[in-house]
Symmetry: C2
Subunit: 198 residues, 2 copies
Amino acid sequence: MSYASEQRARQREQTRHALTREGRRLFAAQGYTAVGLAEIVRAAGVTKGALYHHFEGKADLFRAVLEEVQQEVADRVAAAADAESDPWTQLTTGCRTFLTATTEPAVQRIMLVDGPAVLGWETWRAFDEAGAARHLAEALTALADAGVIAPQPIAPLAHLLSGAMNEAALWLAASGTAEDLNDTWTALSRLLDSLRVR
Amino acid sequence: MSYASEQRARQREQTRHALTREGRRLFAAQGYTAVGLAEIVRAAGVTKGALYHHFEGKADLFRAVLEEVQQEVADRVAAAADAESDPWTQLTTGCRTFLTATTEPAVQRIMLVDGPAVLGWETWRAFDEAGAARHLAEALTALADAGVIAPQPIAPLAHLLSGAMNEAALWLAASGTAEDLNDTWTALSRLLDSLRVR
DNA sequence: GCTGTTCGCATACCGGCGGTATGTGAAGTA
DNA sequence: TACTTCACATACCGCCGGTATGCGAACAGC
Protein backbone atom coordinates (compact mmCIF):
# COMPACT_ATOMS: atom_id res chain seq x y z
CA MET A 1 0.00 0.00 0.00
CA SER A 2 1.55 3.28 -1.13
CA TYR A 3 1.42 6.61 0.65
CA ALA A 4 -1.18 7.87 -1.76
CA SER A 5 -3.45 4.97 -0.83
CA GLU A 6 -3.92 6.48 2.61
CA GLN A 7 -6.03 9.23 1.16
CA ARG A 8 -9.20 7.19 1.37
CA ALA A 9 -8.34 5.83 4.79
CA ARG A 10 -7.95 9.33 6.19
CA GLN A 11 -11.19 10.50 4.63
CA ARG A 12 -12.91 7.44 6.02
CA GLU A 13 -11.63 8.09 9.51
CA GLN A 14 -12.61 11.72 9.28
CA THR A 15 -16.18 10.88 8.33
CA ARG A 16 -16.46 8.28 11.06
CA HIS A 17 -15.13 10.69 13.62
CA ALA A 18 -17.59 13.38 12.52
CA LEU A 19 -20.45 10.91 13.04
CA THR A 20 -19.39 9.82 16.51
CA ARG A 21 -18.61 13.40 17.43
CA GLU A 22 -22.00 14.79 16.45
CA GLY A 23 -23.77 11.69 17.67
CA ARG A 24 -22.20 12.08 21.06
CA ARG A 25 -23.17 15.73 21.23
CA LEU A 26 -26.77 15.14 20.21
CA PHE A 27 -27.29 11.97 22.25
CA ALA A 28 -25.98 13.78 25.29
CA ALA A 29 -28.13 16.84 24.71
CA GLN A 30 -31.43 15.24 23.76
CA GLY A 31 -31.23 11.57 24.61
CA TYR A 32 -31.09 8.57 22.32
CA THR A 33 -34.70 8.31 21.20
CA ALA A 34 -35.25 12.04 20.85
CA VAL A 35 -32.53 12.51 18.25
CA GLY A 36 -33.05 11.19 14.74
CA LEU A 37 -30.54 9.90 12.25
CA ALA A 38 -31.38 12.76 9.90
CA GLU A 39 -30.27 15.26 12.51
CA ILE A 40 -27.02 13.42 13.19
CA VAL A 41 -25.95 13.06 9.56
CA ARG A 42 -26.95 16.65 8.86
CA ALA A 43 -24.77 17.88 11.73
CA ALA A 44 -21.92 15.69 10.53
CA GLY A 45 -22.27 17.00 6.99
CA VAL A 46 -22.91 13.59 5.46
CA THR A 47 -25.90 11.41 4.59
CA LYS A 48 -27.48 8.29 5.99
CA GLY A 49 -25.55 6.27 3.45
CA ALA A 50 -22.30 7.22 5.17
CA LEU A 51 -23.69 6.30 8.57
CA TYR A 52 -24.78 2.86 7.46
CA HIS A 53 -21.45 2.38 5.71
CA HIS A 54 -19.61 2.84 9.01
CA PHE A 55 -22.11 1.44 11.49
CA GLU A 56 -24.76 -1.24 11.55
CA GLY A 57 -27.44 1.22 12.58
CA LYS A 58 -28.44 3.81 15.13
CA ALA A 59 -27.82 1.55 18.11
CA ASP A 60 -24.38 0.63 16.81
CA LEU A 61 -23.42 4.29 16.48
CA PHE A 62 -24.57 4.80 20.04
CA ARG A 63 -22.50 1.85 21.13
CA ALA A 64 -19.41 3.38 19.58
CA VAL A 65 -20.13 6.66 21.34
CA LEU A 66 -20.70 4.92 24.66
CA GLU A 67 -17.46 3.01 24.28
CA GLU A 68 -15.63 6.27 23.68
CA VAL A 69 -17.18 7.98 26.70
CA GLN A 70 -16.50 5.07 29.02
CA GLN A 71 -12.92 4.87 27.85
CA GLU A 72 -12.40 8.52 28.62
CA VAL A 73 -13.82 8.16 32.11
CA ALA A 74 -11.73 5.06 32.69
CA ASP A 75 -8.61 6.90 31.53
CA ARG A 76 -9.27 9.82 33.86
CA VAL A 77 -9.82 7.47 36.78
CA ALA A 78 -6.73 5.43 35.98
CA ALA A 79 -4.59 8.52 35.52
CA ALA A 80 -5.66 9.98 38.85
CA ALA A 81 -5.15 6.68 40.63
CA ASP A 82 -1.76 6.02 39.08
CA ALA A 83 -0.56 9.39 40.31
CA GLU A 84 -0.81 7.99 43.83
CA SER A 85 1.60 5.47 45.27
CA ASP A 86 -0.34 4.11 48.24
CA PRO A 87 -2.86 1.44 47.14
CA TRP A 88 -5.53 2.70 49.50
CA THR A 89 -5.14 6.27 48.31
CA GLN A 90 -5.34 4.96 44.76
CA LEU A 91 -8.77 3.52 45.54
CA THR A 92 -10.14 6.63 47.20
CA THR A 93 -8.68 8.93 44.56
CA GLY A 94 -10.12 6.76 41.82
CA CYS A 95 -13.56 6.82 43.40
CA ARG A 96 -13.45 10.55 43.90
CA THR A 97 -12.35 11.11 40.32
CA PHE A 98 -15.11 8.84 39.05
CA LEU A 99 -17.68 10.74 41.08
CA THR A 100 -16.67 14.07 39.61
CA ALA A 101 -16.08 12.78 36.09
CA THR A 102 -19.52 11.21 35.77
CA THR A 103 -21.22 14.35 36.98
CA GLU A 104 -20.96 15.78 33.48
CA PRO A 105 -24.45 15.72 31.94
CA ALA A 106 -23.09 14.37 28.66
CA VAL A 107 -21.47 11.42 30.37
CA GLN A 108 -24.54 10.79 32.48
CA ARG A 109 -27.18 10.52 29.82
CA ILE A 110 -25.10 8.37 27.51
CA MET A 111 -23.36 6.18 30.06
CA LEU A 112 -25.83 5.87 32.90
CA VAL A 113 -29.33 6.55 31.59
CA ASP A 114 -29.61 5.57 27.93
CA GLY A 115 -26.80 3.04 27.90
CA PRO A 116 -28.54 0.18 29.69
CA ALA A 117 -31.86 0.79 27.96
CA VAL A 118 -30.48 0.98 24.43
CA LEU A 119 -27.92 -1.81 24.57
CA GLY A 120 -29.58 -3.92 27.23
CA TRP A 121 -28.20 -4.18 30.71
CA GLU A 122 -25.99 -7.20 30.09
CA THR A 123 -24.26 -5.62 27.13
CA TRP A 124 -23.91 -2.38 29.02
CA ARG A 125 -22.36 -4.19 31.95
CA ALA A 126 -19.82 -5.81 29.64
CA PHE A 127 -18.74 -2.37 28.45
CA ASP A 128 -18.72 -1.08 31.99
CA GLU A 129 -16.45 -3.89 33.12
CA ALA A 130 -14.07 -2.96 30.35
CA GLY A 131 -14.03 0.62 31.63
CA ALA A 132 -13.88 2.24 35.01
CA ALA A 133 -15.54 -0.67 36.82
CA ARG A 134 -12.56 -2.85 36.01
CA HIS A 135 -10.20 -0.48 37.78
CA LEU A 136 -12.43 -0.56 40.83
CA ALA A 137 -12.44 -4.36 40.95
CA GLU A 138 -8.69 -4.51 40.43
CA ALA A 139 -8.03 -1.99 43.17
CA LEU A 140 -10.24 -3.91 45.59
CA THR A 141 -8.56 -7.18 44.69
CA ALA A 142 -5.12 -5.70 45.25
CA LEU A 143 -6.16 -4.29 48.62
CA ALA A 144 -7.64 -7.61 49.67
CA ASP A 145 -4.46 -9.44 48.64
CA ALA A 146 -2.39 -6.92 50.56
CA GLY A 147 -4.52 -7.42 53.63
CA VAL A 148 -5.65 -3.80 53.75
CA ILE A 149 -9.28 -4.78 53.45
CA ALA A 150 -10.86 -7.95 54.70
CA PRO A 151 -10.67 -10.93 52.33
CA GLN A 152 -14.08 -11.39 50.71
CA PRO A 153 -15.71 -11.92 47.32
CA ILE A 154 -14.80 -8.87 45.28
CA ALA A 155 -17.45 -8.89 42.57
CA PRO A 156 -20.46 -8.23 44.81
CA LEU A 157 -18.65 -5.48 46.64
CA ALA A 158 -17.49 -3.87 43.41
CA HIS A 159 -21.03 -3.82 42.06
CA LEU A 160 -22.42 -2.34 45.24
CA LEU A 161 -19.86 0.45 45.19
CA SER A 162 -20.16 1.01 41.46
CA GLY A 163 -23.92 1.32 41.70
CA ALA A 164 -23.64 3.63 44.66
CA MET A 165 -21.36 5.98 42.78
CA ASN A 166 -23.43 5.87 39.60
CA GLU A 167 -26.61 6.88 41.35
CA ALA A 168 -24.84 9.44 43.49
CA ALA A 169 -23.39 11.04 40.37
CA LEU A 170 -26.85 11.30 38.83
CA TRP A 171 -28.24 12.85 41.96
CA LEU A 172 -25.40 15.31 42.25
CA ALA A 173 -25.81 16.46 38.69
CA ALA A 174 -29.56 16.94 39.07
CA SER A 175 -29.67 18.93 42.25
CA GLY A 176 -26.03 19.09 43.08
CA THR A 177 -24.62 21.92 45.07
CA ALA A 178 -21.03 21.92 46.25
CA GLU A 179 -22.35 21.02 49.67
CA ASP A 180 -24.10 17.92 48.34
CA LEU A 181 -20.89 16.83 46.67
CA ASN A 182 -19.03 17.24 49.93
CA ASP A 183 -21.63 15.33 51.91
CA THR A 184 -21.75 12.55 49.35
CA TRP A 185 -18.01 12.20 49.36
CA THR A 186 -17.93 12.15 53.14
CA ALA A 187 -20.55 9.41 53.26
CA LEU A 188 -18.81 7.39 50.55
CA SER A 189 -15.47 7.77 52.34
CA ARG A 190 -17.00 6.34 55.50
CA LEU A 191 -18.35 3.38 53.59
CA LEU A 192 -14.98 2.73 51.99
CA ASP A 193 -13.21 3.12 55.32
CA SER A 194 -15.42 0.45 56.81
CA LEU A 195 -13.76 -2.04 54.50
CA ARG A 196 -10.38 -1.61 56.12
CA VAL A 197 -9.06 -4.17 58.52
CA ARG A 198 -8.68 -2.59 61.92
CA MET B 1 -75.60 8.57 40.64
CA SER B 2 -77.65 5.40 40.43
CA TYR B 3 -76.41 1.83 40.53
CA ALA B 4 -76.93 1.51 36.79
CA SER B 5 -74.59 4.43 36.20
CA GLU B 6 -71.70 2.42 37.55
CA GLN B 7 -71.85 0.10 34.59
CA ARG B 8 -69.66 2.32 32.44
CA ALA B 9 -67.28 3.04 35.30
CA ARG B 10 -66.66 -0.64 35.83
CA GLN B 11 -66.14 -1.27 32.14
CA ARG B 12 -63.79 1.67 32.02
CA GLU B 13 -61.73 0.38 34.90
CA GLN B 14 -61.65 -3.06 33.39
CA THR B 15 -60.30 -1.79 30.08
CA ARG B 16 -57.70 0.37 31.78
CA HIS B 17 -56.59 -2.54 33.90
CA ALA B 18 -56.28 -4.80 30.86
CA LEU B 19 -54.03 -2.21 29.22
CA THR B 20 -51.72 -1.77 32.19
CA ARG B 21 -51.71 -5.50 32.76
CA GLU B 22 -50.68 -6.41 29.23
CA GLY B 23 -48.42 -3.40 28.97
CA ARG B 24 -46.58 -4.45 32.08
CA ARG B 25 -46.20 -7.99 30.82
CA LEU B 26 -44.91 -6.95 27.41
CA PHE B 27 -42.68 -4.12 28.62
CA ALA B 28 -41.11 -6.49 31.10
CA ALA B 29 -40.60 -9.22 28.55
CA GLN B 30 -39.34 -7.22 25.58
CA GLY B 31 -38.46 -3.76 26.81
CA TYR B 32 -40.16 -0.45 26.13
CA THR B 33 -38.97 0.28 22.61
CA ALA B 34 -39.25 -3.28 21.35
CA VAL B 35 -42.98 -3.57 22.04
CA GLY B 36 -45.43 -1.69 19.85
CA LEU B 37 -48.80 -0.21 20.71
CA ALA B 38 -50.46 -2.59 18.28
CA GLU B 39 -49.18 -5.56 20.23
CA ILE B 40 -50.34 -4.14 23.53
CA VAL B 41 -53.87 -3.31 22.45
CA ARG B 42 -54.18 -6.62 20.67
CA ALA B 43 -53.19 -8.48 23.82
CA ALA B 44 -55.60 -6.38 25.85
CA GLY B 45 -58.40 -7.08 23.38
CA VAL B 46 -59.01 -3.44 22.54
CA THR B 47 -57.81 -0.90 19.98
CA LYS B 48 -55.52 2.11 19.97
CA GLY B 49 -58.56 4.32 20.45
CA ALA B 50 -59.06 2.83 23.90
CA LEU B 51 -55.43 3.31 24.81
CA TYR B 52 -55.45 6.97 23.86
CA HIS B 53 -58.72 7.42 25.68
CA HIS B 54 -57.11 6.30 28.93
CA PHE B 55 -53.53 7.50 28.48
CA GLU B 56 -51.75 10.36 26.79
CA GLY B 57 -49.61 8.00 24.79
CA LYS B 58 -47.15 5.14 24.99
CA ALA B 59 -44.89 6.84 27.53
CA ASP B 60 -47.87 7.66 29.75
CA LEU B 61 -48.97 4.03 29.78
CA PHE B 62 -45.45 3.07 30.74
CA ARG B 63 -45.53 5.62 33.52
CA ALA B 64 -48.70 4.10 34.91
CA VAL B 65 -47.11 0.66 34.78
CA LEU B 66 -43.94 1.90 36.46
CA GLU B 67 -45.95 3.56 39.19
CA GLU B 68 -47.74 0.30 39.82
CA VAL B 69 -44.54 -1.74 39.97
CA GLN B 70 -42.81 0.69 42.29
CA GLN B 71 -45.80 0.78 44.57
CA GLU B 72 -45.78 -2.99 44.84
CA VAL B 73 -42.10 -3.07 45.70
CA ALA B 74 -42.57 -0.30 48.24
CA ASP B 75 -45.46 -2.19 49.82
CA ARG B 76 -43.44 -5.38 50.11
CA VAL B 77 -40.54 -3.51 51.68
CA ALA B 78 -42.80 -1.63 54.07
CA ALA B 79 -44.67 -4.77 55.06
CA ALA B 80 -41.47 -6.66 55.81
CA ALA B 81 -40.02 -3.76 57.76
CA ASP B 82 -43.19 -3.14 59.76
CA ALA B 83 -43.15 -6.75 60.87
CA GLU B 84 -40.04 -5.94 62.86
CA SER B 85 -40.03 -3.91 66.03
CA ASP B 86 -36.40 -2.89 66.33
CA PRO B 87 -35.63 0.14 64.10
CA TRP B 88 -32.27 -1.26 63.06
CA THR B 89 -33.76 -4.60 62.12
CA GLN B 90 -36.41 -2.72 60.19
CA LEU B 91 -33.70 -1.13 58.07
CA THR B 92 -31.81 -4.34 57.38
CA THR B 93 -35.00 -6.30 56.72
CA GLY B 94 -36.22 -3.59 54.37
CA CYS B 95 -32.95 -3.61 52.45
CA ARG B 96 -32.92 -7.37 52.21
CA THR B 97 -36.50 -7.43 51.01
CA PHE B 98 -35.75 -4.77 48.43
CA LEU B 99 -32.79 -6.74 47.15
CA THR B 100 -34.86 -9.86 46.62
CA ALA B 101 -37.95 -8.06 45.34
CA THR B 102 -36.10 -6.17 42.63
CA THR B 103 -34.40 -9.31 41.41
CA GLU B 104 -37.51 -10.18 39.44
CA PRO B 105 -36.76 -9.57 35.75
CA ALA B 106 -40.09 -7.83 35.24
CA VAL B 107 -39.38 -5.34 37.99
CA GLN B 108 -35.85 -4.81 36.78
CA ARG B 109 -36.45 -3.90 33.19
CA ILE B 110 -39.35 -1.58 33.93
CA MET B 111 -38.10 0.02 37.12
CA LEU B 112 -34.34 0.07 36.74
CA VAL B 113 -33.46 -0.08 33.06
CA ASP B 114 -36.20 1.49 30.95
CA GLY B 115 -37.63 3.76 33.63
CA PRO B 116 -34.92 6.42 33.67
CA ALA B 117 -34.46 6.36 29.89
CA VAL B 118 -38.16 6.64 29.02
CA LEU B 119 -39.28 9.15 31.62
CA GLY B 120 -35.98 10.94 32.12
CA TRP B 121 -33.92 10.50 35.24
CA GLU B 122 -35.45 13.40 37.17
CA THR B 123 -38.99 12.16 36.65
CA TRP B 124 -37.92 8.64 37.47
CA ARG B 125 -36.28 9.82 40.67
CA ALA B 126 -39.49 11.57 41.71
CA PHE B 127 -41.37 8.27 41.36
CA ASP B 128 -38.60 6.43 43.14
CA GLU B 129 -38.75 8.82 46.08
CA ALA B 130 -42.45 8.15 46.30
CA GLY B 131 -41.74 4.43 46.48
CA ALA B 132 -39.20 2.28 48.22
CA ALA B 133 -36.54 4.99 48.36
CA ARG B 134 -38.73 7.01 50.69
CA HIS B 135 -38.85 4.18 53.21
CA LEU B 136 -35.08 3.96 53.13
CA ALA B 137 -34.65 7.67 53.79
CA GLU B 138 -37.22 7.57 56.57
CA ALA B 139 -35.59 4.61 58.24
CA LEU B 140 -32.19 6.28 58.09
CA THR B 141 -33.61 9.50 59.50
CA ALA B 142 -35.25 7.66 62.38
CA LEU B 143 -32.03 5.81 63.16
CA ALA B 144 -30.05 9.04 63.10
CA ASP B 145 -32.55 10.72 65.40
CA ALA B 146 -32.41 7.74 67.76
CA GLY B 147 -28.64 7.92 67.83
CA VAL B 148 -28.20 4.44 66.38
CA ILE B 149 -26.26 5.76 63.41
CA ALA B 150 -24.07 8.85 63.35
CA PRO B 151 -25.87 12.13 62.67
CA GLN B 152 -25.19 13.12 59.08
CA PRO B 153 -26.95 14.34 55.93
CA ILE B 154 -29.39 11.59 55.03
CA ALA B 155 -30.08 12.29 51.36
CA PRO B 156 -26.57 11.53 50.06
CA LEU B 157 -26.36 8.37 52.09
CA ALA B 158 -29.79 7.23 50.98
CA HIS B 159 -28.86 7.69 47.33
CA LEU B 160 -25.59 5.83 47.74
CA LEU B 161 -27.34 2.88 49.34
CA SER B 162 -30.25 2.97 46.91
CA GLY B 163 -27.91 2.95 43.95
CA ALA B 164 -25.85 0.17 45.47
CA MET B 165 -28.90 -2.03 45.89
CA ASN B 166 -30.27 -1.23 42.43
CA GLU B 167 -27.11 -2.27 40.68
CA ALA B 168 -26.60 -5.26 42.91
CA ALA B 169 -30.11 -6.45 42.09
CA LEU B 170 -29.41 -6.15 38.36
CA TRP B 171 -26.19 -8.07 38.72
CA LEU B 172 -27.80 -10.77 40.80
CA ALA B 173 -30.56 -11.28 38.28
CA ALA B 174 -28.13 -11.49 35.38
CA SER B 175 -25.66 -14.00 36.73
CA GLY B 176 -27.08 -14.58 40.13
CA THR B 177 -26.52 -17.80 41.94
CA ALA B 178 -27.63 -18.30 45.51
CA GLU B 179 -24.01 -17.85 46.51
CA ASP B 180 -23.81 -14.45 44.85
CA LEU B 181 -26.92 -13.37 46.70
CA ASN B 182 -25.39 -14.45 49.98
CA ASP B 183 -22.11 -12.69 49.26
CA THR B 184 -23.88 -9.54 48.18
CA TRP B 185 -26.01 -9.50 51.28
CA THR B 186 -22.97 -10.07 53.48
CA ALA B 187 -21.14 -7.17 51.84
CA LEU B 188 -24.18 -4.91 52.08
CA SER B 189 -24.68 -5.85 55.72
CA ARG B 190 -21.11 -4.82 56.47
CA LEU B 191 -21.62 -1.50 54.78
CA LEU B 192 -24.82 -0.88 56.73
CA ASP B 193 -23.16 -1.96 59.96
CA SER B 194 -20.44 0.61 59.44
CA LEU B 195 -23.08 3.30 59.89
CA ARG B 196 -23.73 2.31 63.49
CA VAL B 197 -22.30 4.34 66.32
CA ARG B 198 -19.91 2.18 68.28
C1' DG C 1 -1.90 6.50 -18.86
C1' DC C 2 -5.43 3.54 -19.73
C1' DT C 3 -8.74 0.21 -17.97
C1' DG C 4 -10.95 -2.47 -14.68
C1' DT C 5 -11.99 -2.74 -9.89
C1' DT C 6 -12.85 -1.30 -5.35
C1' DC C 7 -14.47 1.75 -2.07
C1' DG C 8 -16.82 5.53 0.29
C1' DC C 9 -20.73 7.64 0.18
C1' DA C 10 -25.22 9.88 -1.94
C1' DT C 11 -29.95 9.20 -3.60
C1' DA C 12 -34.34 7.22 -3.58
C1' DC C 13 -37.42 4.45 -1.60
C1' DC C 14 -40.08 1.36 1.77
C1' DG C 15 -42.53 -0.61 5.93
C1' DG C 16 -43.94 0.23 10.33
C1' DC C 17 -44.56 2.92 14.20
C1' DG C 18 -46.62 6.49 17.34
C1' DG C 19 -50.05 9.73 17.07
C1' DT C 20 -54.61 12.01 15.57
C1' DA C 21 -59.17 13.04 13.72
C1' DT C 22 -63.45 11.31 13.32
C1' DG C 23 -67.27 8.02 13.53
C1' DT C 24 -70.63 5.14 16.37
C1' DG C 25 -73.41 2.78 19.41
C1' DA C 26 -74.52 1.92 24.03
C1' DA C 27 -75.18 4.02 28.67
C1' DG C 28 -77.00 7.63 31.07
C1' DT C 29 -80.21 11.89 31.66
C1' DA C 30 -84.30 14.91 31.70
C1' DT D 1 -88.65 9.59 23.99
C1' DA D 2 -85.38 12.73 22.60
C1' DC D 3 -81.09 14.38 23.70
C1' DT D 4 -76.44 14.12 25.60
C1' DT D 5 -72.35 11.93 27.12
C1' DC D 6 -69.00 8.67 27.09
C1' DA D 7 -66.01 4.73 25.94
C1' DC D 8 -64.18 3.10 22.50
C1' DA D 9 -63.46 1.61 17.18
C1' DT D 10 -62.01 2.93 12.51
C1' DA D 11 -59.34 5.18 9.24
C1' DC D 12 -55.72 7.85 8.27
C1' DC D 13 -51.17 10.63 8.44
C1' DG D 14 -46.24 11.99 9.05
C1' DC D 15 -42.02 10.56 10.39
C1' DC D 16 -38.27 7.62 11.30
C1' DG D 17 -35.11 3.68 11.04
C1' DG D 18 -33.61 0.76 7.62
C1' DT D 19 -32.40 -0.90 2.75
C1' DA D 20 -31.38 -1.18 -2.19
C1' DT D 21 -29.18 0.96 -5.64
C1' DG D 22 -26.42 4.37 -8.20
C1' DC D 23 -22.09 6.86 -8.88
C1' DG D 24 -17.80 9.18 -8.91
C1' DA D 25 -13.28 9.32 -7.13
C1' DA D 26 -9.38 6.62 -5.51
C1' DC D 27 -6.51 2.81 -6.17
C1' DA D 28 -4.26 -1.50 -8.85
C1' DG D 29 -2.38 -3.91 -12.74
C1' DC D 30 -0.44 -3.73 -17.18
